[in-house]
Symmetry: D2
Subunit: 338 residues, 4 copies
């Protein structure tokens, strides 16, 4: 922690600061420059975080030196985390995971039909929403437990792993009984009680980046889950909110290599929500594989024009199949498989 002092700091203010930080168990290193004096504080960062040093008279600004997260960092664990969904299915190793399915679960038959086709195309994990976070209270809110049942039945009958969103702390137990992986949606990335709750399960957690969350905040939210005891966390870049309105959100493709550098957790990309346009799913998926992602999350629907939600950003199964084929040489070029 670096404390930059104001040029007009008084002797009394200076002494007060030095005494205060010493009492907190910190060791101050003082460097007097021609225009500013700075104090380097050495000691437990946890102590520093709780003390608002900027409030002290005579202080101009305070600059942290260490990252605020620990368990999720590469320094804590240099080896890549590989999350196991089943005996054979892992996220974070050489093989890029393909998660696909409809935005919302509408009924058993449609879900089964979609699942069958995406499995043939190469997807291994089935997604589908039973609880839907919708901007409008008047939009379809999901089938709830009925949808979870369909997801489990279809997953079992086709031997696919499953993932679905949980939005409420009260539903974590329920959703855990039906789904292999729990998704925390972008709008809940900083729903800290929900993070703690899923942190107490042993389920793999798919944590989506908030629309306007920095990478650092995403890692801090993951830290909530890891510090609650659950290390099975997969991060997901799904587009951030910017001024550009040609796409629904702006896919922050740089987030993938940045996160891989800062953290040991796997990172996947969701081109459907990032763009909001089905025409962009194919080029953005290629970019995601080329940049080094560990997985893709793609919305697929047999009849996008009749989907209850997000039809605009869903691929039809044929295009999805073609896409997976086109991704193979790119994966190979980056020493991965798909």
């Amino acid at each position: 922690m670096i404390v930059v002092l104001k040029p007009d700091i008084t002797k009394k203010q200076f002494d007060y600061i030095i005494n205060r930080v010493k009492k907190l168990g910190l060791k101050p290193h003082i460097s007097k420059g021609t225009e500013r004096t700075i104090i380097g504080l050495i000691g437990p960062e946890d102590v520093l975080r709780i003390t608002p040093l900027e409030v002290f008279p005579g202080v101009e600004k305070v600059m942290p030196v260490l990252a605020p997260y620990k368990l999720v960092s590469r320094e804590f664990q240099t080896k890549n985390t590989v999350v196991k969904l089943s005996q054979k299915l892992k996220i974070g190793d050489k093989k890029i995971a393909v998660i696909a399915g409809p935005c919302a679960i509408e009924n058993y038959d449609i879900l089964y039909e979609i699942a069958k086709k995406i499995k043939e195309a190469g997807a291994t994990i089935l997604r589908g929403g039973a609880f839907k976070p919708r901007t409008s209270p008047y939009s379809f809110q999901g089938l709830g437990e009925e949808g979870l049942k369909y997801l489990k039945q279809v997953g079992e009958s086709l031997n696919m792993s499953t993932v679905t969103e949980v939005m409420d702390t009260r539903d974590v137990g329920l959703v855990s009984r039906y789904s292999d992986m729990l998704q925390i949606g972008a709008r809940n990335m900083q729903n800290f009680n929900l993070l703690k709750e899923v942190g107490q399960t042993k389920k793999p957690i798919l944590l989506k980046r908030g629309l306007s969350s920095t990478i650092k905040e995403l890692l801090m939210s993951a830290e909530y889950i890891l510090s609650s005891g659950n290390f099975n966390v997969i991060l997901c870049e799904r587009g951030i909110r910017t001024f550009e309105d040609a796409t629904r959100n702006t896919l922050d493709i740089s987030a993938v290599p940045i996160i891989k550098k800062l953290s040991h957790l796997p990172v996947i990309v969701d081109p459907s929500h990032a763009s909001g346009k089905w025409e962009l799913i194919s080029p953005l998926s290629k970019a995601a594989v080329a940049v080094g992602c560990d997985g893709l999350l793609i919305e697929v629907h047999t009849k996008p024009e009749e989907a209850f939600s997000d039809g605009n950003q869903s691929l039809i199964p044929n295009r999805f199949k073609e896409l997976i084929k086109e991704l193979k040489p790119i994966a190979k070029a980056t020493k991965r498989e798909i």
Copy 2:
């Protein structure tokens, strides 16, 4: 709803769209221009929202005509909503409400001391967090129910109304027993289950705008509460996330007159979170009153340098007192009182 067709749309695609919208009970008005044909769709907008017309082959884009919210709109209710906190205390009428207090409740004595001083200065509602949404799992998370008890005791002994944040659907009952008003924090603005839950109480709800939520999304979140049966909603502008890093967030002062135009709900401003700097609280509060806000939410602490949270953005009681005095002529100039 306006549907703009592609210039190269086929007769078959065109007929399909027309048939489809007619089946949905909508009446299409066709306008053929030199470069584009557009279809104006008239009928129940709810039907339109569920149908992803952009997916149809031949459609270039779809533009909504009506706002997606209803109950919160000025069209639904032209008269300003005035929310009653007690027999005497209202938000939304001539008198500008002053809500103040510490970020987090630390213990009874500090809370009492702060409350006493802000009451003397002119505040009528006491704020204080018992459940704190913190970016880091290692930061102080609040005293929980113990903090709620202190809030209620201090409020009653000083005859002040109270407000505190609720973060978890499971805590809505608990917090309702202790506090006069429930706050939904910025990070939970789109925690839709929480919105529905507080919508089922009769308590006044202070709904803070999300860091990267548009005004339209804020109104949609309020719509969740109103459509659940609770019309006692107060909106709060507290700064949005932008590229500017000289302040913690960017206070969107224009949001106040925009919301007053679109909606009948009261709007207050939180200059503490908007700026993250105590030096800005005074000028921003003046701007907020001048622009026409219905209330202010200000963090005050007797010893900001020892506060458990947000010390940097808290005023000391003397400065707070002076501020309220300086706001009086500005309120008067805009035909309000404070």
Copy 3:
């Protein structure tokens, strides 16, 4: 300048850095913490800025201590700059300057009529564009020198000072002959050659903040003008680009007190461009005066519906007159005049 080293830096890398900074004439202060070593560099910051220390193997990040601007800073000059436009007319003292007029100069008569009415209402400086920066090459681009002549004639006949935009280094001499003050538009805030060129005149310069420029960058652009020899600079906050689309831009009202703290230069506010909506000009002008601005820049047009440009964000003279009246008590409440 603070250099934070990587935890795994080698002895050789460390020695290389120390030797290198010493050769540059800098004095390193080394602080070894438990997790990181940091080096505080003391010496001429100019040297440091040119040396990309982050490239050095073993360096994790580099954090500047000093602001990158000098002449514009409060530390360089503690007293407020007051810019003189004429013997009687100043910007930056107790009296808040009111600059008004049409977006574009259309012809002599319309300009004269508008100018006469705004003068009666209380404006002292006439604005009007002769060279217009338009997003589209097909929009009206301004009357050029003809417009400048009208501006000068109207200004002289009504005894008002004038301001107009200059967009091209080749036009600085021309525009200087006709106008009392030169405006650098938002899109040219980082047109560095233009900044240097106007820096070589003695004319007052109205420098508008770029749509996505930080306050620091605005001050750096002003530094270009001051360091070229011209200290007569007035800064203008006119809204920044954010995700919010209810307004054309987001007025960053906090910029006013922030700039007043960091710099001695006067700051004015342009509510017309900030909002893009005439209904917001009045509330935003009140907020601007309350927050402490030194002037207002307001678009006024007698027939907004026939204006060649920006009709949507122009006030009619009657509303403008009423606004100035309403601003008087707010100015008084903040110990200013208008």
Copy 4:
């Protein structure tokens, strides 16, 4: 153009609007819905753009139907534009162009050394700045004409095409004599006079997207050049300004397929400026090729730690060589060459 009327519009207001648009030569199509009446206006869009219909009493909002650009659009020209730099060298065809070199030209020897190595690695176009747009007036501003001479000499001796930035309308002739292609930097994307000036040359123009410019605005700026007579325009995505601070800017990778859909012009990607970090150049270049770009613009320096500018975001020649090798299979996978 669609005009949405207010629900409380009067008969008089309605008639006024209808008469007015008819006088402008437009044909109104009226659709009366249950909650709103809308008017579809058919006729020359140019007329509509100049008339601020939103100002009319009774109008709620106005929504454009057509894109504001013409010459740059896919509708105007369906075939991809291929820009010729020399008999053999083209941008926009099957072969992906590799433009590389130092940020700033420092002297002949360094430039020659860098150019020789990047040519060996596969680059065909040499970049280097002689006029540098720097945020600070105290940073290195470029060698000016001397630098242009070095660029031309090195280009000729190694048989490479060249590109360099022009910042001032007065320098367009000078730079054109020395360089094969002219670059308009991000900060000058809306320097409309400069756009017109380069539009009057026949030189290929590399137009970089502004830090906070929408894709639509980038296309409008290109429209300035094309409408001045020069169709040899190459667009460049180089990162946009967002709230994320882990990278210098956020590479908007989606811009590539979006622009390819809307326009016939070639699009290249600059991963150096987009990220500001040399470690990201390699993954982002792979993503750019995978997503379908027509070229890459990469900063390379033999001694980044001694570069006068942007050392942090430059690759050393060996890494650059390796990168080009790694890009080959990805280019092949997307049916391109590099």
